[in-house]
Structure formats: structure tokens, C-alpha cells
Amino acid sequence: MRVWLGRHFIALAAVVCLAGYVYAYREGIAGTPIRSDAFSYYVYLPSFILHHDLTLQSVADDCCGGEFPTWTGFTRWPRTHRWVDVHPIGEAVLISPFFLVAHLLTRWTNLTPDGYTPYYQHAAGLAGLCYVLFGLWCLRGLLRRHVSAGVTDAALATLLFGTSLFHYATFDSTWSHAFSFALIGLLLDLADRWTPERGAVAIGIISGLIVLVRHTNVIVPVAVVGTLAACSRSRGFRLNADGLRLAITAALVAAIVILPQLFLYESATHRWFVNSYGGDRFTFTSPHVAAVLVSVRRGVFFWAPVLVFGVAGLFMTPASLRRWVPAAVAIIVLDIYLIASWVEWQFGASYGHRGFVDVYPVFAIGLASFYQEIAPRPVTRRAVGALVVALCALSMFQMLQYWHGRLPMIDVTWDQYVSMFGSR
């Protein structure tokens, strides 16, 4: 039974995620997939592919009478009067194969080919779901090289059901987090398999895509490629020529991947580098560190306590994974600082703290290492296993409460949190 479950782990995860997705949309509790932030991540596809318009104005005309509503986050650049999307093009690039299939199906059925009818909507929604599964598949490949199959599956199941990952694979699958999760999982897998003979271009492409989906995630490829440049498997931490060659090649390839985004910024604003949010939105001198970590409002460890094992595990990694520890710690620490310094540190509506979903692959390394460490101790293993199952059940329960509107989307108070357990 255990072998069968392990062999079909990704297929089982797909079935469960698909069931969650169908439930969220059949019940009508999730609205349509392309909503809120997802609108601005997705808008490039109808504009570029259907309207052949790089300015986004055609979509503004078609959907919104010429002006994007304020909630979309678009701004008209003062000097050029052109639209600047608050979100970059990476997610749209990743959705594009799904979009093309949806467009062909839309034509086949004779639905309105405007980019927002049902096939387009669910192509975008299912794209996020598929990318989460792909991310899990990549992580499975990475972890299986270092820990046992059982430990790998336990770690990934914990990540899927004990954190907000399931939510971002289903209910909010069109947000950027599902896509970043997949790319970062893939980057870690590629980097772990990298040899001087091959892999540099692929690492560069994935690094570029990570930045294209969410600019601040640049810290991940820098830390990962930096690790490869600064340490070799055999000689520990030491700059090596092969690693430096990789870093240069990957940086060049990533720069080429990012170029279309820079071109868009330039054509809309006459500047190559733009803060699409406008103004100074970081508060680096007064970060809300405790709030993003442990608060009931949005603390990542409050809403996904299993991640504590993921952090603890980073200090118990098997020798073969140890070279990734400094990068993993650096990514987590920098991410906490960046998220805590963002003026909107709760990241608006979210189940758990969605800012951390992107770097769950890093936590996966810690989780697997933790489970591998306790695996030979039956009593500890059973105790931790029981606790993790309970925490996963709690996470799923909380998520369903959020889905049904029994938890506010933002600014949750302790009283609201406690009352959730009494609501039907």
C-alpha cells in the first residue's frame, strides 16, 4: 500500500487538488479564477494575443470603458499617459500554452473570444494547479536523491496539506504564488543536478522566469547560483571556475529572458527600470517581522505551524544537502525581511501569509531533512507524525473556514480566530 501511494504520489495530489478546485468553483465560493490580483497578472495575454496591443489599452476599452478600475492596480504613467501594470509578465508567459488551448476551444465552441469567457478562466485556474503539481514533481526528484522515498512523500504531503499550498493550488491558483513555487522548485532541482558540462542555460532561463513572475524573488536565483559558484561538492566553500562560468552564463541568459519586461517598461514610461507600484512602498527601517512570523493576523508560522519543522530541519540536513543550507537560510531571512518591510505586509487578502508560498520549496528541504533525522527513532517518529497529521487537519479546516467566508480575508483578530472553531 505504502509503495503504491508513493508511486502515485503526484497523481493522487492531482486528484485531491482537482477535487478542491472543482469544489471551490462549483460551490460558487471562489468567484471566477481571473479576479483581483490575477486580473493584472493575466491581462497581457488577451491584450497581446487577441488584441495585438502592447499598451493594454484595448483590454481597458473592452472590459472597462477605457479606464482600468482602481482595484486592478494599473496606473497611467503621468508623462506618457500609457498603462503600467503593477504586476510583471512572467505569470502570463507561463499561462500562455493553456491560454492558446483555451482560445482554440473557445473558437470551437463559438464562445466569445475575449479572453475572459469560461475556457480562458479555467485555463488560467488549472494552469496554477498544474504548476503546483509540477513544482511538487520537481521537489520529489530533488529530495529523492538525498532522502528516502517515504520521507520525500511525507515532506511533500505535509507541505501540500499543512500549509497554504493547497489553497494556492486550487482556490487562488491564478495568483503568482503557484507559478513561483513551481519555478523555484525546478531551479533547486536543476541546481542540485547541475554539472559543469550542462545545465547553465536552463538555470538561466528559470532564473529569468522567476524574476519575471515576481521581481523580489531575484534573491532566490542569486542565492542558488551563488552557492554553485561559491562551493563545489568535493572541496566545500571555495570559488570555483566552473561555478563562476555558470553564474555568468546564467546571468546573461536570465537578462535576455527579462528583456521583454524591460522593453514594456520602457515603451510605457521611457524608463527601463520602473517601480510599478509607484512611490516608496518598502519600510526597511521598521519591518513587521514578528507580525509576519507569528501573529494571528498573518503570521506564517501561526497559520502553517508545520513549517517550524522545515526551519529546524535545515540544521539537520544530510551531508549531501548541506551545501544548500546557507542559501536556504539566506533566502528565508531575506524573504522575511522583504515581506515584513512591505508597506502592505499582510499582502492583502490571503489564506496564511501568501508571500511565503513562493519559497515553500526551500522549506521542503528542511522538512525532508527533519523527517529523515527522526525516521530511525520510532517513538519520536510516531509522536511527530501524529502532531503533523493534526496540524494538517487544522490547516485544512482553517482553509475551508476561509473559503466559506467564516474567516476575514485580512486583519484577522484572535477573537475571530477562536470563534471560527464554534461556527458551522
Binding site: 473592452d62 472590459c63 470603458g65 470551437w108 464562445l111 466569445t112 469567457t117
Partner: protein, 145 residues
């Protein structure tokens, strides 16, 4: 070499995909689909209508020889420009109407010969919109067979 089991799986997949495509060619739920139309409202005189945005679409049964679509828009401020409303049937240009006052205008669409589908898509596009992305009010559509 492809095993028999693998071949049968591929065959099953192909048959499933073909069946899905056949169904999606003309699904029964299409008749109820609309895009860019707000919920039904009722005017003081009892007329039912739905506001469109700049672009709206709806479906009518394909046995219709003629479709009459009553439309109107607002002219509440002097800045409200006349509005050109363009109708198309299955992406082919049908009729173009200029609205210059607030009265209801019945637009008659002569339907071209229909194909094999049960329903046909009618798209309505307006040249401008009013405050809050309001295009035209679309009343109850009359289908003549």
C-alpha cells in the same frame, strides 16, 4: 516497443478527447451564456433591460430568421456623445446603429443562413461608454422564426 497496455491507454485517451470535442462543438449550456451584461433591471414603465459594457454578447437559437433587439442609452449630460452600436452575428458584421437620443430603438438583425449549431452568438459593441462603463440598455430580445 509500445506495449498493448500503453497502446490501449492512448486509445482510451484519444477516444475521450474526441468525445469531449464532439460535445463541446455545440453544448446545450451555451444558450444561457452571456458576456458583458449586468443583471436584469426594470424601468419605471415596466421595461426589462440589462446594461451592457463596451462589449457584450449573448446567444439566440439558430432557427431564428430575424432577431429584434431593443436598445437605448442615456443622454443625461451635454457631454454624452451620440453612440454607435455595432452588432455582429458569429463574428460577421451585422448592423450598425447610431443612438442620438434616449428613446428605445428596436434593431432588427436579419440572420444569415445558419450552420450546424443549435445557437448563434450575437455581439454588441458600443463606440463609447457612459459613466461606470455603461454601454447600452438591452431589452427582451424577440426572435422571429
Amino acid at each position: 516497443m509500445m506495449t498493448r497496455r500503453l497502446a490501449s491507454r492512448w486509445l482510451l485517451l484519444l477516444v475521450g478527447a474526441a468525445a469531449a470535442l464532439w460535445y463541446l462543438r455545440d453544448p446545450p449550456w451555451l444558450a444561457e451564456q452571456t458576456t458583458g451584461l449586468r443583471p436584469w433591471q426594470q424601468a419605471a414603465d415596466g421595461t426589462r433591460y440589462r446594461w451592457s459594457g463596451r462589449h457584450a454578447s449573448f446567444f439566440v437559437t439558430s432557427d431564428a430568421a430575424r432577431v429584434v433587439v431593443p436598445i437605448a442609452t442615456t443622454f443625461s449630460t451635454p457631454a454624452d456623445a451620440p453612440m454607435v452600436v455595432t452588432f455582429s452575428i458569429d463574428d460577421l458584421r451585422g448592423t450598425r446603429v447610431l443612438l442620438t437620443n434616449r428613446s428605445w430603438t428596436p434593431v432588427t438583425l436579419e440572420m444569415p443562413p445558419h450552420g450546424s449549431r443549435r445557437v448563434r452568438r450575437i455581439d454588441v459593441r458600443t463606440s463609447v461608454t457612459r459613466e461606470g462603463n455603461h454601454g447600452v440598455m438591452i431589452g427582451d430580445v424577440r426572435v422571429e422564426r
